[in-house]
Symmetry: C2
Subunit: 443 residues, 2 copies
């Protein structure tokens, strides 16, 4: 039985761009000529957080191709083509994009770069199509789906076992017994102001929290009330969407000290996290006439000038700092190297075509968007764990109600949320379906 | 009744240096000629975290002088003198030190600097003396104190009320009923490897976690098991103890890019937090012959050289980066300004006396020490709160078992832990003592 609070299913997945982070040699990867392996993908994923879940990462990489094939078997279409542009929201229906930091330093040093962002074949947002196919499969499977059915609380019985839930539907409250288990899949908590201000206070008032209105943490809170342990609640994905145009990647990001602080060819999430932590607060993207373009997401010009020295003065940066930063950058770019942050050759070009522009990228001034990554601690099969590491009998969680593969702002890659949600959601569903039915004496 | 797991009381407080962060015009502050007010202290404290507890901060500042006087009334001695040196472990018995970031940018811009680290009058570590005086008062008050008495778990009764505890003493387990309440004061979780690796994974293997062996999170976990909400569990205090000698403050800290990243006259905790987050990992303290001295805590030389250019090459820093950093720093220092991070004039001196040295300060290579700041969410009176913000009836917490005034690595000040622990511990004790006795029917 599926209890859905909204009038239709899919949550944030159904309104997303529709990428899944998959690899290890999928059909699309092969067709596009990319080599990848489960081990290589694992080496990448393990770099994406200070505290990766090795067991989950191993499974996710080992069975990634199988997961892709399973999606295809449900009728989810993927085109065997790659969209090579650096993008935030891929406009095309191509099946593959570079959706993380695979090519960026230092990630590329420990894992051979391969694109793993698999987009469902649909222009613009493909989340609706992805969800439609999943939905069809659920319906065909014979599950009873109730919409506008709010789960109010879990019912916890003897030994801490989750025995069911109290559900409100059509104005009535009903107790529903779960014979095998309850799986919480209620999204994250981006829309819960009090949880956000508790766990990521520095985002408040500076970043726009995105998701669907039901990402209010209710699932996580119900799980906690049943003794589930929330982990990494202060982790989030944050984006500074300064590209496209990709050409701006040839610009440099500088802080209030006029220093660079990140390789600008990193994924926009890694850039966002670095940018929102800079001392003194100010962040500017410095571009010359050759690489300038207006960011699609609408950034404002902080200043323009005919020389870097004038731009430095206009921005109020410490004397000679920006000039030296640009000088070092340009010198390296001419030789195809970035001695500070090892930006890839393809994005290196000396900034020497006046006029010069500084785009306002300061946290609190520019557009930053974020969502939450923390959630219930679960085993790969979805069993929710307590603080002591014991299983809460009868309780499972998946999607952003659990903490999964994506768990750090500086290592996030597009597609890991839906990739993780569908992969581990499937495992949780299977584990719950195979659980020994619970039959309290006399029931 | 006091149930103490160790064979003697005091926990980490009893082995600490013995500073309390107090202000607003204490006797010692006045005698040393410093002006301070509750409002000014509040303006400082509110800058020390992204998510300060305004209610606690207000009370703590408003009643700080009274708290000082109360300590004096218990026989805790404070000398009316100030130790002006920049230090980690104050060797003297002077009553006052600068123990935070009061004079450092940007803190000084929003609150007039005043020293607030009050040390109990004792050379070297004064924690034992402080605790001896508190202990005497507890004994004189007639409390029953049981040592070697381990609380194993709380007993939770109807309505979630904490009704008492199960205690192991002399090999026997005993249930003890709490008529008014239980106050958890069992320290933090620096000694719990699994909690540390869960909540602050980047410290594992790189920072030494300090405290007493019983800082194992047991208090926090018991509180959580009774529905208490842990907050800011990923916050810690971390120190890069590069001074004394204070003269090294005239040096500059640079990262793998050869860039400065913090005002070096910040408190060592603020410096430690900034240093452990630098991209590329490497951090060096650059000193010239005029300011060099061997750090008391034992740092190693990374390189020495006759010129900054040679030092830059020897360290493998990107060409011209360190040279320019030093050039800008020296130019400013000659004019008494630090255009990048606004280090105070007294610590500004051009680095122009060869030879030059680079001290190894990289995270994972140099000595970093840390302890935990997260704990149970409490009201100012110590009542433990659930995730939903409801009071857990009969349960209180104080000290590092609760999350209090100190709650951020970049804003920590010495003395806030013991200051907070004694101040809010006292309020919790009073609140519990005044609570309506709980008398279940028939008991």
């Amino acid at each position: 039985m599926v209890l859905e609070r909204a009038s239709g299913g899919g949550g944030t997945t159904a309104i997303a761009a529709g990428h899944l982070y998959l690899g290890g040699g999928t059909r699309v990867q092969k067709a596009c000529g990319f080599e990848d392996s489960a081990d290589n993908m694992f080496d990448y994923i393990m770099q994406c957080a200070d505290d990766p879940d090795e067991e989950k990462a191993r499974l996710y990489c080992d069975r990634s191709v199988e997961h892709f094939d399973w999606l295809v078997s449900l009728g989810v279409p993927f085109k065997d083509s790659i969209y090579e542009q650096r993008c935030l929201m891929q406009p095309t229906d191509d099946g593959l994009i570079w959706s993380g930091n695979e090519k960026a330093w230092p990630f590329r040093e420990k894992a051979a770069p391969a694109p793993r962002g698999h987009k469902v074949a649909q222009e613009d947002d493909a989340g609706p199509l992805l969800f439609a196919k999943l939905h069809q499969a659920v319906e065909a499977g014979g599950a009873e789906i109730r919409y506008d059915a709010s789960v109010l609380t879990l019912v916890v019985g003897e030994g801490g076992r989750v025995a069911g839930a109290i559900v409100r539907q059509d104005g009535r409250e009903q107790a529903i017994r779960a014979r095998r288990g309850v799986i919480l899949c209620a999204g994250g908590f981006a829309m819960n102001e009090s949880m956000v201000s508790r766990h990521m206070p520095h985002l408040v008032g500076r970043a726009e929290l995105i998701g669907n209105p039901y990402d209010d943490g209710a699932g996580i809170q119900m799980g906690m009330a049943a003794r589930g342990a929330p982990i990494h609640m202060s982790e989030y994905h944050i984006t500074l969407p300064f590209y496209p145009p990709a050409s701006l990647t040839r610009g440099i990001l500088v802080n209030a000290q006029g220093q660079r602080f990140v390789n600008e060819d990193s994924y926009h999430g890694r850039v966002g996290e670095a940018a929102c932590r800079q001392p003194g607060g100010s962040v500017y993207l410095i571009a010359d006439d050759a690489c300038f373009g207006w960011p699609e997401m609408g950034f404002e010009l902080a200043e323009t000038a005919e020389t870097i020295a004038e731009l430095e003065a206009a921005l109020g940066l410490p004397e000679s700092m920006l000039q030296h930063t640009v000088e070092v950058y340009n010198r390296g770019a001419r030789q195809g190297v970035d001695p500070l942050f090892h930006k890839q050759d393809e994005w290196l070009a000396p900034l020497d075509h006046p006029p010069f522009a500084a785009l306002e990228c300061s946290f609190g001034k520019a557009s930053y968007m974020a969502f939450t990554l923390g959630g219930l601690h679960t085993r790969p099969d979805g069993e929710v764990l307590t603080t002591e590491g014991r299983i809460v009998p009868g309780l499972f969680a998946a999607g952003r109600t659990a903490c999964g593969i994506p768990r750090s702002a500086s290592g996030y890659a597009s597609g890991t949320c839906i990739g993780d949600a569908t992969f581990f959601g499937r495992l949780a569903g299977r584990a719950a379906a195979l659980a020994t039915p619970w039959d309290p004496a006399g029931a």
